[in-house]
């Protein structure tokens, strides 16, 4: 394995060049699995690390960007306010790939407002929620995604119904919404790749167990529950344009979703016949799965053609942050005209 991992990708970088600082999260934390898949996806997608930025809020989840892509710019911002930070930053250079990592507290509690508004604006970026139902850094309080009835050591029983991040994202008119599980690395990696190539907001709600505070077998966000209740909607793969011709699928078994840049998402049918292109049907499917006590994973909704935030502005080819000063200050003559207008 070590040999294979050291192989250079198409831009001449080894997998280790996509790594970050050593993780300081707990051993076995679901978030470490997410970090590993981000590294693998970016390595395999041949992404130059300098063309990607990492942003996060506050919490265990938001520490994750330190642990991948050392050569990428990163910003660990404020609690619940990663979306606004990302919005401003990506306008600096819209060719940059944005990868945001948030948590269930960061997104569904303090950051609910910014979460909903970044969906609605369809900012092109990957938005990963590392969702474990519990506050880790403050040592074990219920988060807004904790299921009703969950019992935690110091907190007693949770009395409130949970927030479903996928449901909220779809209601917020996000253009790419997925759910995955830290215990399903292959699917997670494919979703990360697809999310990076999607031109719009790509939300992946990753059930990512907290081994320290919320991993009892019957807890919704535990490894055991996830393993025994996961129902994948489809077998999902992401296909860059050059390889598209090489892959053969039996007719009728698959659904191809072309993305704006010529890449494709291939969804191979499993038990259910599900097409992730209809909002209302997606919500209905989630509701029914919920009744059956299933952890539905996969690509739940996608609209690759939805107008992105950047489409609304007539921005120049050159990134705004590289425009020379003379392009930023209007002429002296224009000020004479302005003075004439000031009555």
């Amino acid at each position: 394995m070590a040999e294979k991992n050291d192989r250079l990708n198409e831009i001449g970088l080894s997998r280790s060049e996509y790594k970050g600082k050593p993780s300081t999260l707990c051993l076995g934390c679901g978030h470490n699995a997410i970090v590993a898949q981000v590294i693998a996806a970016c390595y395999e997608l041949n992404i130059p690390p300098e063309s990607l930025i990492k942003v996060s809020g506050i919490g265990c989840s938001s520490k994750a960007p330190t642990y991948f892509m050392e050569r990428s710019f990163g910003f660990n911002g404020l609690h619940g306010r990663m979306p606004s930070l990302a919005t401003g930053a990506l306008f600096g250079d819209t060719t940059l790939i944005g990868v945001g990592v948030s948590g269930d507290g960061d997104t569904a509690s303090i950051g609910m407002g910014q979460f909903k508004h970044v969906m609605r604006r369809n900012l092109p970026m990957l938005y990963i929620v590392a969702n474990n139902g519990v506050y880790g850094l403050t040592k074990g309080q219920f988060s807004a995604t904790a299921e009703e009835g969950l019992a935690l050591k110091k907190q007693g029983q949770n009395r409130y119904v949970p927030v479903d991040i996928v449901w909220e994202a779809i209601a917020g008119r996000a253009s790419f919404v997925a759910r995955s599980f830290s215990g399903d690395p292959q699917q997670l990696k494919a979703l990360i790749k697809a999310g990076i190539h999607h031109k719009g907001i790509a939300v992946i709600d990753v059930i990512s167990p907290c081994v320290t505070f919320n991993n009892e077998d019957e807890a919704f966000h535990s490894y055991a529950w996830g393993k025994s209740h996961e129902v994948a909607l489809h077998e999902l793969s992401f296909v860059p344009p050059v390889r598209a011709v090489k892959v053969q699928y039996a007719k009728g078994e698959t659904l191809e979703v072309p993305l704006y840049d010529g890449t494709h998402i291939i969804l191979k049918k499993l038990a259910q016949d599900y097409e992730p292109t209809h909002r209302a049907r997606a919500l209905q499917m989630l509701e029914e799965a919920n009744d059956r006590n299933e952890l539905i994973t996969g690509l739940i909704y996608i609209n690759p053609k939805q107008e992105s935030l950047f489409d609304l502005y007539n921005l120049p080819e050159m990134p705004l942050n590289r425009l020379p000063a003379e392009q930023l200050r209007p002429s002296r003559e224009s000020l004479d005209e302005i003075n004439q207008m000031m009555y």
Partner: protein, 609 residues
């Protein structure tokens, strides 16, 4: 308790006369009175006489009483006057209290259909047959409500000698050249003027006589000036959330940026303006943009600024350039949202957790709103920090006469930024928070830089010179000390104070911001009272050396401000504890701009005259 002395009237107190008087106009909010008031203001301005206008308005969309104060002043006084020489009363709801504003023997011009009692006998009374004049004009019924106010424009034009040409020009400007509304409003004005000519036989002490004192001047509000200054300062990114009285600043950008910031070569916009979901997000976006190398700004007022606290603190600590315009209104809480104050000095100066102290720019004129608009970006990028520009409702929302905006006299300065070629030169050896030049300002790279050594990790947590996470006590202390020295070093680069000296003055007066106009007027009166004061107008915090020297050189120094607790007085006392006992606080707040009368009286009491 200080003893209150009877204050003698100063010599030549009476200002009223030719080109020297005030008009108070009482109307109902939302009745189109702003069009009438601005027409009067602009017509007088076009006749060459210095004039200023203040809108004293309620927090309401329609119906509540609202006032407009026009001050005509050949001498150039633009501060609010307590009393008016002419009162126009169009609103039954404020009819009684409007009478109180008038000077003895002043002109009370009112809508004759208002049947409320007239309580004073010392006024010149003119009841205008508003309905009758409107019937003659035959307005479309949808317009009737909005043109009624043109009646007082016509009557005042006749009584004061305001010519029809400048009135027409003012209407053309207001209606952007649209023929129909201009003609119709002008018709009402002419009918009203004719009525006055036929029916009134009055000799008033107040008159407008043409002058040439405004030929080169402009008439503008501070928020428009600030927006334009920012646009000429190379603003790339604005995120904002609506709040009175700041909203008109980003709105002016929405008007002017599409005219000024489309690249003629490509036809593309060189800026982004985005309305955020709240102030938390507005400043979040601005911090993200500042980090990514954009000249980024927001505009807000007290309540919004409170919500921006945490991101401002992060910008300070992580050293990210951002510009925040604070258009102050009356707090605490929602307070008086449509009234003016200088009450957020402390909030702005120290905004943030832990030890924070920001660079504040404090414009006192609309010209400075423009100037500080572009300078704020240069300073924010030079010092890699938050720069707050403190204006207020009086300066930001009211009409002020000024010199034409001056084109920036310095090129855009982007500060210490390393791009790919720079990193090549130093072989990638750099630390984001390392003070290599000994000026406390480190170098930064910008996301989008494709050099393999360009990236660093920005965080609100403790960090070392290379931006690595650190909880080492010495890293923390060293970093925070450097940031403090960095902010302190701005004292020589921010706009210095404006000082006006008087021969033989032993005492001084320090003020800042929009109170300037009223203070200049008060100082003229005080001179006649025999009180000489040197006057320093502070334009930035932390204060420049000249400010401290000024305090040291005077026996006593009054610190005058529009708030309750004397916030600037406290800040200056901390700067010079050895002179704190000689700093005398003159602070007052009631929602209205400070006026020359109050300033004069307060100083006379302190001087024991």
């Amino acid at each position: 308790m200080t003893e209150t002395k009877e204050i003698a009237q100063p010599p030549q107190r009476r200002l009223s006369g030719v080109n020297e008087f005030s008009i108070n106009i009482g109307t109902a909010n939302g009745s189109g009175s702003q069009t009438a008031n601005l027409t009067l203001l602009r017509a007088i301005f076009k006749m060459g006489i210095p004039v200023s206008g203040k809108n004293i308005f309620p927090s309401n969309i329609q119906g509540l009483p609202t006032w407009y104060k026009i001050r005509v002043s050949q001498a150039g006084y633009a501060g609010r006057r307590k009393e008016a020489d002419i009162v126009v009363a169009m609103n039954p709801d404020s009819f009684i209290e409007d009478q109180d504003d008038l000077v003895e023997g002043g002109l009370f011009l009112y809508d004759a259909d208002i049947k409320d009692p007239i309580n004073r006998e010392d006024m010149i009374l003119v009841g205008m047959p508003v309905k009758k004049i409107l019937r003659e004009a035959k307005p479309h019924k949808d317009l009737r409500k909005f043109v009624a106010n043109m009646v007082y424009v016509g009557v005042l034009a006749q009584l004061l000698g305001i010519e029809m040409d400048p009135i027409e020009q003012a209407l053309m400007f207001h209606f952007k050249g649209k023929k129909n509304p201009v003609e119709f409003n002008l018709k009402v004005i002419q009918l009203a003027a004719q009525w006055a000519a036929d029916n009134l036989d009055l000799v008033l002490p107040y008159r407008i006589e043409p002058r040439d004192l405004t030929d080169k001047a402009i008439l503008v509000d501070g928020n428009t000036a600030g927006a334009l200054g920012s646009i000429y300062g190379g603003m790339h990114f604005v995120s904002w959330y609506p709040i009175t009285p700041a909203t008109s600043l980003p709105e002016a950008m929405l008007t002017f940026a599409p005219k000024l910031r489309i690249d003629p070569g490509t036809g593309k916009q060189t800026y982004v303006i985005i309305q955020a979901e709240d102030e938390l997000a507005a400043l979040g976006m601005v911090v993200g943009a500042g980090w990514a190398g954009l000249r980024a700004m927001t505009a807000t007022s007290g309540p919004g600024l409170s919500l921006m606290t945490e991101y401002t603190s992060l910008a300070y600590f992580a050293e990210i350039p951002v510009v925040i315009w604070v258009i102050q209104r009356v707090g605490p809480s929602t307070g008086l949202p449509t009234r003016t104050a200088q009450g957020d000095i402390n909030l702005s100066y120290y905004l943030g957790q832990g030890d924070t102290e920001h660079i504040l720019l404090i414009p006192g004129t609309v010209g400075e709103c423009f100037e500080f608009g572009w300078q704020a970006f240069d300073l924010a990028e030079k010092y890699q920090t938050a720069v707050l520009v403190l204006s207020d409702l009086d300066l930001g929302k009211n009409q002020w006469m000024a010199e034409p905006f001056a084109y920036p006299d310095k090129p855009i300065e982007r500060g210490k930024v390393l791009w790919e070629a720079d990193l090549d030169k130093i072989k990638g050896d750099w630390g984001r928070y390392k003070d290599v030049d000994g000026d406390f300002i480190p170098y930064r790279t910008i996301p989008g830089n494709r050099h393999p050594d360009s990236a660093y990790f920005t965080r609100g947590t403790g960090h070392d010179d290379y931006a690595n996470y650190s909880e080492h006590p010495e890293d923390w202390e060293k970093n925070l000390e450097r940031i403090k020295k960095k902010i302190n070093s701005s004292r020589t680069e921010t706009p210095g104070p404006v000082i006006q000296k008087q021969k033989g003055a032993k005492n001084g007066l320090i003020a800042f911001g929009s109170t300037d106009a009223a203070i200049r007027e008060a100082l003229d009166y005080l001179k006649q009272d025999g009180v000489k004061l040197d006057y320093l107008r502070l334009r930035a915090l932390p204060p420049a050396q000249e400010v401290l020297d000024f305090i040291r050189k005077h026996e006593s120094v009054y610190v005058l401000e529009n708030n309750r607790d004397g916030q600037m007085h406290a800040i200056l006392s901390l700067e010079l504890p050895e002179k704190a006992a000689d700093l005398i606080s003159l602070a007052h707040i009631d929602g209205l701009p400070l006026n020359a009368e109050w300033i004069r009286e307060s100083i006379l009491q302190e001087e024991n005259l």
